[in-house]
């Protein structure tokens, strides 16, 4: 009991500077969030969901909610993209009025309760999560995006989050609906500027309706002392295709929760991820694909390269519910440890309650192949280049899933800059 009180006081202390949101979430949502935040403690490693990720570094931050904004400038991925920049959770650039036909974007701060509450039914399980509740209760801002039915949005929608100044914090949320037969591509980029330590708690709630195609690329490239916890809650209806590619290239502690509920038949889901870690970074990817409808397929590929004393966690769950027959679900996690002090905790899980399904999952962890390095060196390639070639080759199949050329090029540039690898 004594322990509990202490933990709770840590959370109270942590949230002290945060202000309750002014966004028009429904009273029931807010009440639920308060309930969770006021009666919880930080999850510990005794909690199965946080078994390999300690939050001590987060708990010890003394965060400030009102850091002055620096109005950071960010190069868009393409001149053509529809760009919104948020700094510490506040909009600093982007216009919701000059948009192409077929798309509606509102700031959450200006969004009607009717639009906001469209997401109340999404992924209820997750709403007991402390960080989800904190995000609702303290939400700074975010976007409501509606891709209207039968519309194909050619321009990339680019959402950029910048953490600036020391000990800054942001809670933001995007609510995204791809209506029936629509098609769109969204990129979310996480950056830091002039910020030594920061905390970013972000949520995306996505509804992919009948026959819609939505692609979501997430590029996490904050500074080496940034902490971020991100959750993506996704719901897919029938005949839809949803692709999410998550790249984690920097940050001190990054936790990604990706929960996808496939509720409609004949849907396809792609989840790809690459995490490249060095120093003492910690990156934790928790994914859930819940097949609630028959005749669907999901393809999951996560790959990691872990250097120095960094630690990665992969926990991927695939559920195939009782009446979800004819499901093809494939999951793979592969890791390369570059040093003896690098760590990976990989836990692929499959729970199948239907009897006519095709599922596989697997996890591999290895080192760079010494024979291959010798072979490359024997052709005149330096040991360093040989390692780079092998590392690049290892993650190239994840990068190949990024179909948007601007994003692909940007990722290559970042990887080359950060790690010296050409892919």
């Amino acid at each position: 009991m004594i322990n509990d009180t202490m933990e709770q006081s840590k959370l109270q202390k942590f949230t002290k500077a945060f202000k309750e949101t002014t966004i028009a979430f429904s009273q029931s949502e807010l009440e639920r969030a308060r309930e969770v935040v006021f009666n919880s403690e930080f999850p510990t490693t005794r909690n199965e969901n946080w078994k390999y990720t300690r939050l001590g570094k987060l708990q010890n931050l003394e965060l400030q909610n009102n850091a002055p904004l620096q109005k950071f400038k960010v190069e868009p991925l393409s001149e053509n993209s529809i760009q919104f920049i948020f700094e510490n959770g506040h909009l600093i650039s982007g216009n919701t009025n000059s948009l192409p036909d077929g798309i509606e974007i509102q700031l959450l701060s200006k969004c009607s309760q009717e639009n906001l509450s469209k997401f109340d039914d999404l992924n209820n399980l997750n709403k007991k999560d402390l960080f989800y509740a904190m995000n609702t209760l303290y939400c700074n801002n975010g976007l409501f995006i509606k891709i209207k039915s039968k519309q194909k949005i050619e321009r990339t929608i680019e959402i950029i989050h910048v953490q600036s100044s020391q000990n800054s914090v942001s809670h933001f949320k995007n609510l995204i609906i791809a209506e029936a037969f629509s098609e769109a591509h969204i990129v979310e980029r996480f950056l830091s500027d002039n910020s030594n330590s920061s905390f970013c708690n972000s949520i995306n709630e996505l509804k992919v309706e009948d026959n819609a195609h939505l692609t979501f690329d997430k590029i996490q490239y904050e500074n080496p002392n940034a902490i971020s916890i991100n959750s993506d809650l996704v719901e897919q209806q029938k005949n839809s295709t949803f692709t999410i590619n998550t790249f984690t290239l920097n940050g001190l502690l990054v936790r990604n929760n990706l929960n996808i509920e496939v509720k409609g038949e004949n849907s396809i889901t792609y989840l790809n991820g690459a995490y490249l870690l060095k120093n003492n970074q910690h990156v934790d990817n928790h994914t859930i694909v819940d097949h609630l409808a028959p005749n669907c397929e999901s393809h999951e590929l996560y790959k990691g390269i872990i250097d120095d004393s960094a630690t990665a966690v992969f926990n991927g769950k695939v559920f195939v519910r009782k009446d979800s027959q004819k499901i093809n679900a494939f999951q793979s996690n592969a890791n390369i440890l570059l040093t003896d002090t690098a760590t990976i905790n990989s836990k692929p899980e499959l729970e199948i309650y239907a009897d006519d399904v095709k599922c596989s999952h697997g996890s591999t962890t290895g080192q760079l192949d010494d024979e291959a390095i010798f072979y490359l060196r024997a052709r005149g390639i330096s040991a360093k280049s040989a390692k780079e070639l092998l590392v690049s080759a290892f993650i190239s199949d994840v990068l190949n899933h990024v179909k948007n050329e601007d994003v692909n090029k940007h990722l290559n540039d970042l990887i080359s800059k950060e790690f010296g690898w050409e892919i």
Binding site: F374, Y375, A378, R379, I381, L389, S392, A393
Partner: protein, 250 residues
């Protein structure tokens, strides 16, 4: 070109080479034959710079430099090439990307300009013809999914691309059918000049019908015990290695 003197080498405390001497000059082809376990592949590995072996005695002079002091990649850049007995599959690294990296690192070492993509591709087309390698294989991952014959042809293709001074072919004939053998041998013969040299390591005489050696050496128990011309290979084929063993026992 290469002078190996009294070379002793061991692995995990076991001595494999026990005083090997060999001298190869430019323009020559030497065949090294011998029974299994004689140390043939060990010799190839040591020359290419595999680090598992401990050199306990002896020296290797490569064009006036101490070969044993050089890292593997420096040996390659100085013009030594090993055609692997078991070429390694490297998924995700394209043959082209790999060779271009290799060629340009070698050129940089020699203080030459990097080769343009256009010139490089022209070179790939020209050299892949020598070993009748399907140009499609050049863009695939290194050796991945290649047949045994394709892997060996890819080795000779790489040799053609890198134009080494000294090529060591380690059991390049193993696992090849007659057609593949002929193609590989034809590749080696095409690349031969009075400025380069080749060491052919083989268990069987068969390859030497196509690559005619100037010298044939018999490696047995870590040493070269007999040297002759190409007729020695035929004699070995006929009489087997027991003949050498018996002769040595006398």
């Amino acid at each position: 070109m290469i002078k190996i003197k009294n070379l002793h080498a061991s692995i995990e405390g076991k001595e494999i080479l026990k005083g090997l001497n060999l001298e190869v000059n430019a323009g020559e082809i030497h065949a090294i034959m011998g029974p299994n376990g004689a140390g043939k592949s060990t010799l190839a590995s040591i020359l290419a710079g595999r680090e598992e072996y401990e050199i306990t005695e002896g020296s290797v002079d490569f064009d006036g430099q101490d070969l044993l002091e050089m890292d593997t990649e420096i040996r390659a850049r100085e013009g030594l090439f090993l055609a692997f007995q078991y070429p390694v599959e490297i998924p995700g690294v394209s043959n082209i990307n790999f060779l271009r990296t290799a060629l340009n690192e070698i050129r940089e070492y020699r203080k030459e300009e990097a080769m343009s993509a256009k010139d490089f591709m022209a070179l790939v087309r020209e050299k892949s013809k020598i070993v009748e390698l399907d140009p499609k294989l050049a863009s695939r991952s290194v050796n991945e999914g290649f047949s045994g014959g394709e892997k060996k042809r890819n080795e000779i293709f790489q040799m053609a691309m890198l134009e080494p001074k000294l090529a060591i072919l380690d059991e390049t004939d193993s696992g090849l059918d007659i057609d593949a053998l002929r193609i590989v041998a034809n590749g080696v013969n095409t690349l031969k000049s009075d400025k380069n040299a080749t060491i052919v390591i083989t268990h069987y005489q068969r390859l030497l019908d196509y690559i005619i050696p100037d010298f044939v050496h018999v490696l047995y128990d870590g040493k070269i015990v007999k040297t002759g011309d190409k007729s020695l290979a035929l004699e070995l084929e006929e009489k087997g290695y027991d003949w050498i063993k018996a002769e040595l026992a006398e």
